[in-house]
Structures are given as C-alpha cells and as structure tokens.
Symmetry: C2
Subunit: 147 residues, 2 copies
DNA sequence: GTAAATGCAAACCGTTTGCTGTACA
DNA sequence: TGTACAGCAAACGGTTTGCATTTAC
C-alpha cells in the first residue's frame, strides 16, 4: 500500500484533490496486484460505490499514470491494462498465447541490455517495456520443447 | 522486396488469392520501410488506386500478418503500426518521447535474455517485443546526460 | 466560496462486419 | 464459373469530452 501521506503530497503538490473515487481506484489496483483493464476496475469500483462512472475511472487512471502511481501496459490487445507501480521494481511480462496467463519477471539485466543497445545511438532511456509471449507449461502444444 | 514467387505460394497454398489490392498494400509497406499505421497505408494506397477502401486495408493487413509477411507493433499509442517483415531479422524499437522518431536495433542478445528469463518458469517463447522509449540526442532535455 | 472533479450522455476514432457486387483462379 | 475478395456504409468497443452538478480545500 502506498503511504497516504506521500499520496496526498503527490496530489496536492499540483493543486489537485484527493477524492473518494481516486482513493477507491488506487485501492483496487493495489489490492488486486494484477493487471486490470479499465472495465474491470470500473466493475470493482461499482461494487463499492454504485454511483461512480466509467469516465471517472478513465480520468482517474490517466491522472494516476500522470503522477506516476500507475503504469499502463498494452499486452498486444486492443485495450490497456493498469497496475499500481511497485516503487523502483521495474519488471517485465510474459503472456501465454493460449490461456492469457501473465507471468512477471524482475531482472536488472534487461535495463542493462537496454542501456547498452542505446549507447551507440546516444539515446537516453526512460522506459523499458519487454513483453514476451508464447506458451506456458500447461498450454504448450504437445510434443514441443522449450526451443 | 519479397520474391513474388514465394508470395504467390504463401497465398495460394491456402486457396486464397493475390489481388491487386494485396500487392499494393504490401508494396507500400516494403518501399516505405517505416512503421506505418493503417490510415497512412490507406492514404498512400488511395494515391494509386482511388477506389480502394479502408476496410480492405485493414483486412489485408490482418491477412498479411496471418501469413507472416507483416508485423504489427503498438508503440504505446492507441493504434497499431505495421511493417513488412525482414525475414529472420528480429529487431526491437526505441521511440523518442518528444519527436516520435523510431530507432531500430538488432541484437541476438535480446532473444538470449528472453529465453533465459523463461527457463525457470518453463515457458516457451514465441515472440519477443522490446520497446524502449526516452529521448534522442536532438530532443534530450538540456543538461541531462545518458544516465 | 471557488476551482477541481464527478456523473451522465453523447461524441470520437480506430477497427470490424454485413451485404452486394466484382474479379481471380 | 464458383468462390474469395472488394467496396461501401453501418456497427462496434474502448476511450474521451461537454456540460451541469457536486465536493474538496
């Protein structure tokens, strides 16, 4: 859970407000610890506040992203997935092409490699997205092996 | 340019047809050698065939992707970008957050690292998407250095 | 009290689909 | 000549926006 104090500071620093709805959305992302899409966040929010609207969810997700409390991922689908940032724990994802399961990795080697790739072109890396897809053990086509 | 022969085989093998429009879309992707979105492909196609429709462009892009002649990338934007595959040359992208410029990398190390990450969870890797973003030399905020 | 944020509904925009007519094999 | 494909327009689904109302500060 994010410290309430820090959260308040982050928000108020820009003359913006901590509303019931913003707390709710962030709470849902934090306790879920999954990669929820906006629709799912909306559904879960509705369970606790039946008056919240989908527009508020989208605006809040954009807002939380803007102040750095939430990350968005695409996963090759046509809609975004959101998660509360786990501070200074950059991580990467694998999606199973059959069952959709998502596995997370943490590996400093990825950032290291990214920096190395950028060196020769003098590029400054800010974000690194590594997204693998394939088959998990359960879904692997019979007879194939990790190639 | 893809060999016409191979192209025909790839298409006909499934009882499907090589139409003027499919040739046109593939031509545009190959000569552009950029990462075009569907709208841009459509505009360029219209210049040479004023009767082609956007639906045909989308259907053709999906078709070319299906038979493996075209790749789609998201680049964190809300719409897809397409490119003709350069056979067995997997590559990765960097997007400048200010000017939008795209830089490509080729590095076998990425696939190597991906496989290593997947080993312990017994995952079979099929696709690897590495997408970096940050600032190019021209756009780098003044006074900052490659951290 | 007064901006900022919400809720609702309508708009938006990239993409897909249904249908009828066209053209590749 | 039969069937895959094209063109058009309408539908779709995720996301954004305009506006009146509410609420945090």
């Amino acid at each position: 859970m994010a410290q309430k104090r820090e959260l308040l500071d982050a928000i108020r620093s820009q003359g913006r407000r901590l509303t019931r709805q913003r707390q709710l959305v962030l709470e849902i992302l934090e306790e879920g610890a999954e990669h929820l899409d906006a629709e799912t966040v909306f559904e879960r929010a509705r369970e606790r506040d039946e008056r919240i609207g989908i527009a508020t969810v989208y605006r809040t997700l954009a807002f939380l992203k803007e102040i750095g409390l939430v990350d968005e991922h695409q996963f090759g689908e046509d809609h975004g997935h959101f998660e509360a940032v786990q501070s200074d724990r950059p991580h990467y994802h694998f999606t199973c092409m059959k069952c959709g399961k998502v596995v997370e990795f943490q590996s400093p080697q990825v950032m290291k490699l990214a920096r190395k790739l950028c060196e020769s072109d003098d590029l400054q890396v800010v974000e690194v997205h590594l997204h693998l897809s394939g088959y998990c053990v359960q879904c692997r086509p019979a007879g194939t092996d990790c190639r």
